[in-house]
């Protein structure tokens, strides 16, 4: 299995605090792997290191074998990594279609001079981009709303628009930062189904940060658990559920013994 993302010994410090401490992460191609951990465990920092927002202090990140740790974010995005944000950061003044069109920006070859004279290449490229954008909007279920400015869209629609924008640059790796945050159960199920459909129809590797355990356990092929910047466990959802250290990380020191008692009763209290 080829590793889409290979992070080896990645460390990132902010002044005295080490947010991410020698983490090794392998994200197999075509899989949905997610990173979980308590608040402040360094999930978003690791995410930002992968997407180039931070330059890791030490260690290496490779994307399909190609080192990307020092590159600027737009170069990393050109290699085919796209991401969404924990708190939605859309281009508010622009309409939904334009947000998606901006996503395709680095795929388009036409320069500003061609734009002035509307050369045929420019015209076709714009039309193709527009069609792709409209098709993407239909795909994420925003077909009727393409002309509304982003700040007018409802919360769920804004989340999906952000994903549509990320998909616009047809990435090989999609980084989703808490896609279901702030969603009611019905929307969460829709989003989970959507992510699964995404992985199957478009064979994109997906790296996920999520707090909602049911979503994580339901769709991830591989889970990595971070705690205080260090990786404390990695593996299939089933292994993670029973791993001592993960429970302690989540429920505190004595919890491991307690959960062992309940395990015998085959009820999964810990993850209601």
């Amino acid at each position: 299995m080829i590793a889409a993302v290979q992070a080896s010994q990645v460390t990132k410090c902010f002044g005295g605090l080490t947010a991410v401490n020698t983490v090794d992460l392998i994200v197999p191609k075509g899989s949905i792997s997610s990173i979980i951990g308590p608040n402040g465990a360094g999930k978003t920092t690791l995410f930002n290191c992968v997407s180039g927002f931070y330059v890791p202090d030490s260690g290496e990140i490779q994307f399909f074998g190609q080192p990307i740790s020092g590159l600027a974010t737009h170069q990393i995005s050109k290699c085919g990594i796209a991401r969404t944000y924990q708190n939605i950061r859309l281009f508010k003044e622009m309409t939904a279609v334009e947000n998606v069109l901006v996503g395709q920006h680095h795929r388009m070859r036409s320069t500003w001079i061609e734009a002035i004279f509307h050369t045929p290449r420019y015209y076709q490229e714009e039309q193709k981009a527009l069609e792709k954008a409209l098709e993407l909007l239909d795909f994420v279920g925003l077909s009727g709303l393409e002309d509304t400015p982003a700040y007018n869209l409802p919360y769920g629609a804004q989340r999906r628009l952000e994903i549509a924008r990320a998909l616009a640059s047809d990435p090989a790796l999609l980084l989703l930062d808490e896609p279901t945050a702030g969603m009611n159960p019905q929307e969460t199920d829709e989003m989970t189904a959507f992510i699964k459909n995404l992985r199957d129809t478009r064979e994109i590797t997906i790296l996920l940060i999520e707090h909602d355990m049911r979503v994580v356990m339901d769709i991830s092929d591989q889970i990595t658990v971070l705690d205080y910047g260090m990786k404390i466990a990695e593996g299939k959802p089933a292994e993670i559920q029973s791993n001592q250290r993960v429970i302690e990380a989540y429920l505190g020191p004595g919890a491991a013994a307690l959960s062992e008692k309940f395990r015998r009763k085959k009820t999964l209290y810990a993850y209601s």
Binding site: K78, H106, F117, E146
Partner: protein
Amino acid sequence: MKTSLTKGLRSGIVFGIVFIFLMLIGFINVGADMVGDISSASAASGAGGRLPVGDLLIVIAVFGVFCGIAARSKSEEVQWWSALLGGLTAGITAGLLMGVAIWLVGSLSLDGVDFRTYLPSLNPASIQYLTFYSYPQSAGLTYLMYMAIFSVAGAALAWLLSFRDWLAKSWNSCKTGLGGWFEKKDVSRIFSNQWLMIVVFLAAGILLYFLPLAWGSYWNYIMGTVAIYILLGLGLNIIVGYSGQLVLGYVAFFATGAYTFALLTAPTPHGIEMNLWLAVGLSILVSTLTGLLLGLPILNLRGDYLAIVTLGFGEIVRILIRSDLLTSLTNGPKGVTSVGQPNLFGSPFSDVNFMHLLMLLVLIGLFIAKRLKDSNTGRAWIAIREDQTVAQATGINTFKHKILALLLGAAFAGLAGALFASRNQFTGPEDFTLMVSVNVLCIVIVGGMGSLPGVVLGAFVLKGIPELLREMADYRLLVFGALLVVMMIVRPEGLWPARRVRFKRSHADPDRQDAVEVEV
């Protein structure tokens, strides 16, 4: 009851102080003359040099009415008598203030105090005029009485106006009626169907051709300056309006453009006297290079840091042009004289031909800016303006695009500078002060950030109004400054705010024929 009293008191004080201020700067006399000109009945005012007192009374009356309205405007559903009371208090307080001031000034100037060492516009003649050529005490009382009466009238008017039923309805209905008519004739609706657009453009073209012929040389010159400032506005609009970089030193590019053209075509300092159109091209190139020179080291700056650095750069260019260091190159503070003027089939450019050339270039500029705005680069710029980090993360090379915006803006400024120098046939360092960059920034923001019609409107307003206010003589800039403040409060989003372009859905979904509007 109490609220209308305090409101009346406050508005009274405010209007009193404003009147005293206007009196001290002599604006009341100018106001009275204007009233005199309008009524023009009392044109023959030569009776012993005594100006018609009636005009002054009209000015005070108008003042009183506004004071009454202001005292009444915001308070909610109140009986008529407390409204009138509010108006009365406002009138009395304002009248008291004005009366006492006039009485003080009048009596002091009667026993020989000369205010003019400290307040020059209070010359004895105007003081007598303000005290109705009579005793200061009686003048003070007349002020008090007038203000009281008229502000009560104003309060009554305001109260009536806010009278809900038939009066307000009729007013609103005619407003909507008018609005309705406008809706049908909505400007952007015209653009929808093809034929109407062509007709409109043709009509505009013919109008634009014939207008300069009808204008005298003065209006041609003013409209020429407006056209040059539109070009500058288009350039700065790309930098500030699209890509959101606040540049306060835009005059640097304008100056380089003008000086390059002047030095290349003027006989005096270097005598190169190059062909004019080549000189225009070179001046655009030189100012773009200055843009590059400025842009490369500082583009990782943001917000106000970028503003002050570019302001500094503008000042550096201005000082260098004037300095002894470069006198051999730029002829120092004397400026460059007899700059070349283009000639049309031999005969030198008359101001009408110049106006046509400027209009042509403005149209080309608008066309380029429009195409850029809707292009892939345009969207990248606006993304950078919205949120630079996310824009970079979605694959936009922000450094490249910001430099591109700066260079395009500099090119526009270079062209405008060359035209400016050749039109005046002279260019000196005093033309390129900080106020030019400030004016162009005002044009872009007052017009509406990132909107092309906004730049055109802004240029008309920012350059047109000071000329229209020329009759106000010395009060020209005072009113202009006040107007800027009021305009920003009344309409912060600009005269013609930018509206995103709506897209056609013809191919993706043939059966859904949305109303399609392409906003200029």
